[in-house]
């Protein structure tokens, strides 16, 4: 999706707010964060779907809404799409129908902390897929940008880089976000020279590295 979230290389956003060191300013931001981390255990959505729900916000809202409110908005979108809430409930926060208790069990505090500390690796054993590219291979990033979630940013679309690292086999964000399963494949760190991305105006002595799934790449 060539959406407003895909900001790499854009002009017009002014100076970096280098002094904005805070993580949370308001208590409700912590609650919004916690809610997203917690509800995902009882509701059927993953991180990629949550990211995509943020990307699907109207562009002007994406640019103006607080970071953590975006998390909460995406959470509401996914709960609504999953049929776990209806629009009226989201409107006023009052429950209008019950869910079947067995289907959606809320995660308990201890279980959540344990799972949070354990993490959820997204990699697969090396043999799950064989790599199409070797270190040093020149690859071109696909021109295609699906309307759905994708992790190949616009600023490398159609560009040529060099495979620098084979990161191993990972679940694929594009299919995860569609609910189509992990589609495990190799993911690579690809090096791009600044000049190839930005032309003559590129800063000298700079280069960019992106982690790109094999599905995005063709031999150059």
């Amino acid at each position: 999706m060539d959406g407003i979230h895909d900001m790499g290389g854009m002009h017009g956003f002014g100076a970096v707010p280098t002094d904005a060191e805070e993580v949370f300013v308001h208590d409700w931001q912590k609650r919004a964060f916690a809610l997203c981390e917690t509800v995902a255990w009882a509701a059927p959505f993953n991180s990629d779907q949550h990211r995509h729900a943020i990307e699907r916000m109207p562009p002007a809202a994406y640019l103006t809404v607080d970071y953590f409110e975006k998390w909460a908005i995406a959470c509401r979108t996914l709960l609504l799409e999953a049929g776990l809430v209806d629009a009226g409930e989201l409107e006023n926060g009052k429950k209008r129908f019950d869910l079947s208790p067995g289907d959606h069990t809320p995660v308990g505090a201890a279980e959540l902390i344990e799972a949070t500390q354990a993490g959820a690796p997204m990699s697969y054993p090396e043999g799950t897929a064989s790599p199409a590219f070797q270190i040093g291979t020149r690859v071109r990033v696909s021109r295609a940008s699906p309307a759905g979630h994708t992790r190949a940013p616009r600023y490398v679309r159609g560009q040529v880089g060099v495979i620098e690292t084979d990161l191993g086999v990972f679940q694929f964000a594009d299919t995860m976000a569609r609910g189509d399963g992990p589609n495990p494949q190799h993911c690579y760190t690809v090096r791009f020279e600044a000049r190839d991305l930005w032309g003559d105006a590129a800063e000298a002595g700079t280069s960019m590295r992106l982690d790109l799934w094999e599905a995005y790449l063709d031999p150059a």
């Binding site: 970096v16 607080d66 776990l84 006023n92 869910l99 809320p106 992106l210």
Partner: protein, 195 residues
């Protein structure tokens, strides 16, 4: 309220009300246990943050074997310090040297190595940082006060997949691990500062 000192802001109050309503609805629906909400906030505030990364960095500076392990298998070496979990399952450590400077971003959202750095600061999530650091890293670093020599190899890492990145800064003078750890800043581990 913890933010009584802020100006009256109707937009912000609206957001607070909406998040509160969502929280109450989720609890009423049986999708969320309020104790879990409290626990996870406390966990991130207490157990994560830049001091974790700083401990990793200081150990790497003083223990060559650990440093080698950290650069070879960041996730495992970091887990050895007790830091693990979401957004830290796959961590790669980038070594700054006299000739190479690494700086990390996530242009598509704000991916960040939570177990070692906590949640990202506002500037890391800002449109300006995400937009500009890949196009003009030197100019952005200069805004942070870090002016790099023309012959430094500046490498920008865009966290577009499942790997999260931690920069291993150049070691300042000193030998005591705790004293060294105290010198390590969050920006130093993102790459927007030297130490």
């Amino acid at each position: 309220m913890p933010h009584d000192h802020h100006d009256h802001d109707p937009l912000e109050e609206g957001a607070a009300l909406r998040v509160r309503a969502l929280e109450e609805l989720m609890i009423a629906k049986g999708l969320v246990d309020p104790a879990a909400l409290d626990a996870i906030v406390e966990y991130y505030e207490r157990e994560t943050g830049p001091r974790n990364g700083a401990a990793v960095v200081a150990r790497a500076w003083t223990d060559p074997d650990y440093r080698a392990w950290l650069l070879r298998d960041g996730s495992a070496a970091i887990a050895d310090m007790g830091f693990s979990g979401f957004q830290g399952e796959h961590i790669r450590v980038l070594e700054n040297t006299g000739t190479v400077h690494n700086v990390v971003t996530c242009t598509l959202c704000s991916c960040y190595p939570w177990p070692v750095l906590g949640l990202p600061p506002t500037w890391y999530k800002s449109a300006a940082y995400r937009a500009r650091v890949v196009r003009e890293p030197r100019a952005v670093l200069a805004e942070f006060g870090l002016v790099l020599p023309a012959d430094t190899d500046v490498r920008v890492w865009d966290s577009t997949a499942e790997i999260r990145y931690l920069v291993l800064p150049i070691r300042p003078e000193g030998t005591d691990v705790d004293a060294l750890a105290a010198m390590v800043t969050r920006n130093g581990m993102i790459g927007t500062a030297a130490l």
